[in-house]
């Protein structure tokens, strides 16, 4: 019972705190006057804006937003790639050398796209300079890029000019991510997470063996990992390791931290469009999907494998940390895959098929809060498509938020639907066609299909978690997932910006009794169905061959 209670408390905390952060996000991204408490950032921000100069005030359209986004991201990526390829000796106590080129490429792309898929063991390959200068740097800027895109899209949908990328990037960092990470890092520090540049600790175990305990500037790293929906661990074991996630309390606070910014973004959306009812219903929709997923996974993990129930009680404890237990690991897994954080506090590979199914479902939908900023945008895309499909049935050209949904909107919105089939199904099919050696599958059968599909889905959805039995450190995996990472990040961003910019230029129509209202329970229900049919039905055959077949085999 206790894990369920703790899960309820954690999720309730998200609902209760989201509106206040939502108001802050609204004030930040709508250029409202700043509250007294963050005015101390003004000098730094104005200084940086002055340094950016005219670029911070350029014309506001899709191109002028997308171009600096792509250029700056390319530069960030190159910087990280260089650091990873040629790890210098500074802050590198164990003297790690440079990474293999494909691994360095994959790692830098993976962190640049806010995915944090790791095909390496960080504590055995990366020095502190690489961890801070490449990995943690990308964690901050990729989350800020996502947040900027999210609010550019929200601005477009609310009829405002989509804004300026440099300004949004800067303000995402200075007003949201850096202060929030500092606060969370402080809490983690107090809870026992290390924050040091000292080399690993050499200890002698009870058996008398020598062991190295990896440590480093983990507290801040951990904070942006959760808040920025990054998910990449400082240590390979990620949040299962006591240095990243020491106590039950840090576990719950970290779960909250994954959810809070996306939930607040949704709340801010309501403030932007001046219709809190609309945003609350969307929040209820997403929260409902999350709660269902959490319920399924927690129940499945708590019940454990029916074939083992005669010998083992206490649920599915394979690949779990006992300080969290089976059920709360289920909660974490669903939240982490839903929010595109991808951090793990237990092995998803060893989770029950239903948990894996829920996780895959989250990856395919990408809106159960979804990525930093982009999840919100995806939700708007699905709402737009729901309006288009059902809105015709009231006998008018469908309208969303007072604007007509016409061909350009449908083109951009439905392009987003094509990303996953292109970047998940095609590479997964190629990999499986290449045989088990190419795929590096550790468990044959249906689970092997789950492993391969999960890896690409996690890459294309910019999540980063994985079914870790897979031997994914090969050049094939590094290069193909890199493609999925890039395709799953920048193509949707371009489509979303074009969608939002085109949408805002349409005339606003006054609502009448003949207009389909989107802020009703009925429409929210319709959106769920459209979401499931358009977002997940495509993957039903693959899911059926993977986790569903596995679950049915276990059950029978």
């Amino acid at each position: 019972m206790l894990p369920w209670l703790l899960a309820v408390v954690t999720l309730a905390a998200v609902v209760l705190t989201a509106p206040s952060l939502g108001r802050h996000l609204f004030e930040v991204f709508d250029d409202r006057p700043q509250p007294a408490w963050d005015r101390w950032l003004n000098p730094m921000e104005t200084g940086l804006l002055r340094w950016i100069g005219d670029a911070g005030r350029s014309a506001e359209n899709t191109r002028s937003y997308l171009q600096p986004l792509l250029i700056s991201n390319a530069l960030f990526g190159l910087l990280a790639l260089t650091l990873l390829l040629f790890q210098p000796a500074w802050f590198n106590p164990l003297g790690f050398g440079g990474l293999r080129w494909d691994l360095a490429l994959h790692t830098s792309i993976s962190f640049l796209t806010n995915t944090d898929q790791q095909h390496l063991i960080p504590e055995q390959t990366l020095g502190n300079l690489a961890q801070l200068g490449a990995i943690q740097f990308l964690m901050f800027v990729s989350a800020a890029t996502g947040l900027a895109v999210g609010f550019a899209v929200i601005r477009g949908f609310s009829g405002r000019p989509i804004g300026n990328f440099y300004r949004d990037l800067l303000r995402s960092l200075t007003r949201v991510l850096i202060p929030a990470s500092l606060l969370l890092a402080l809490f983690l520090l107090v809870s026992g997470v290390p924050m040091t540049l000292a080399p690993p600790l050499e200890i002698t175990t009870l058996e008398g063996a020598k062991q190295w305990l990896p440590r480093g500037p983990i507290a801040l790293f951990e904070a942006i990992k959760q808040l920025g929906e990054n998910g990449g661990g400082f240590i390979s074991a990620n949040s299962a390791h006591p240095y990243e996630n020491p106590t039950l309390l840090t576990n719950l606070v970290s779960t909250w931290a994954m959810l809070i910014i996306p939930a607040a973004t949704l709340d801010a959306f309501g403030r932007f469009v001046g219709n809190r009812r609309q945003s609350n219903l969307l929040l209820a929709l997403v929260f409902g999907l999350l709660v269902i997923g959490v319920g399924v996974a927690m129940a499945a993990e708590q019940a454990g494998n029916p074939l083992l129930s005669n010998w083992i009680s206490g649920g599915n404890l394979q690949g779990k940390e006992l300080r969290f237990g089976s059920a709360l690991t289920g909660l974490w897994t669903v939240v982490s895959t839903g929010t595109m954080t991808g951090a793990v506090n237990g092995s998803i590979d060893a989770a029950m098929p239903l948990t894996i199914l829920t996780a895959l479902f989250n990856l395919f939908l990408q809106v159960v809060f979804g990525g930093q900023g982009t999840g919100m945008a995806y939700l708007l895309v699905f709402a737009l498509l729901a309006v288009f499909l059902t809105g015709l049935m009231v006998g008018r050209t469908p309208e969303f938020l007072g604007r007509k949904v016409e061909k350009p909107q449908v083109v951009w919105a439905s392009l987003v639907l094509l990303i996953h089939p292109l970047f998940v199904l095609i590479p997964a099919a190629l990999t499986l066609a290449g045989g088990a050696t190419l795929a590096g599958i550790s468990n044959p059968g249906s689970h092997g299909i789950s492993q391969v599909v999960y890896e690409y889905a996690s890459a294309a959805a910019n999540n980063g978690s994985g079914l870790e039995g897979l031997s994914d450190g090969t050049a094939w995996w590094n290069l193909t997932t890199s493609l999925s990472l890039l395709g799953g990040r920048y193509l949707p961003i371009a489509a979303l910006l074009a969608l939002a910019d085109g949408f805002r230029q349409k005339p606003v129509l006054e609502p009448s009794p003949g207009t389909l209202r989107t802020d009703t329970g009925l429409f929210t229900g319709v959106t769920v169905v459209v979401l499931v049919i358009l977002g997940a039905l495509t993957f039903f055959p693959v899911l059926a061959l993977g986790p569903i077949a596995e679950a049915l085999t276990l059950a029978s």
Partner: protein, 62 residues
């Protein structure tokens, strides 16, 4: 019309070229006729996919 003449000319050429290129991939598991047929099927699917992209890009023309 000129555009269609183009397609009529290029499409079979591309299909044949693709088939010949891809057929060796299936040679290990299939006899020659089947491996060529499979390669042609794959190319045809790709062409159909390209056609659908064309529709998405310029729905007015269809």
């Amino acid at each position: 019309m000129a555009r269609f003449l183009h397609i009529r000319f290029w499409l079979p050429l591309l299909l044949v070229a693709g088939t010949l290129l891809l057929a060796p991939l299936f040679r290990s598991s299939q006899p020659p006729l089947q491996s060529h047929a499979l390669a042609l099927l794959l190319c045809g699917t790709a062409a159909l996919s390209a056609y659908l992209f064309a529709v998405i890009a310029q729905p007015e023309k269809f």
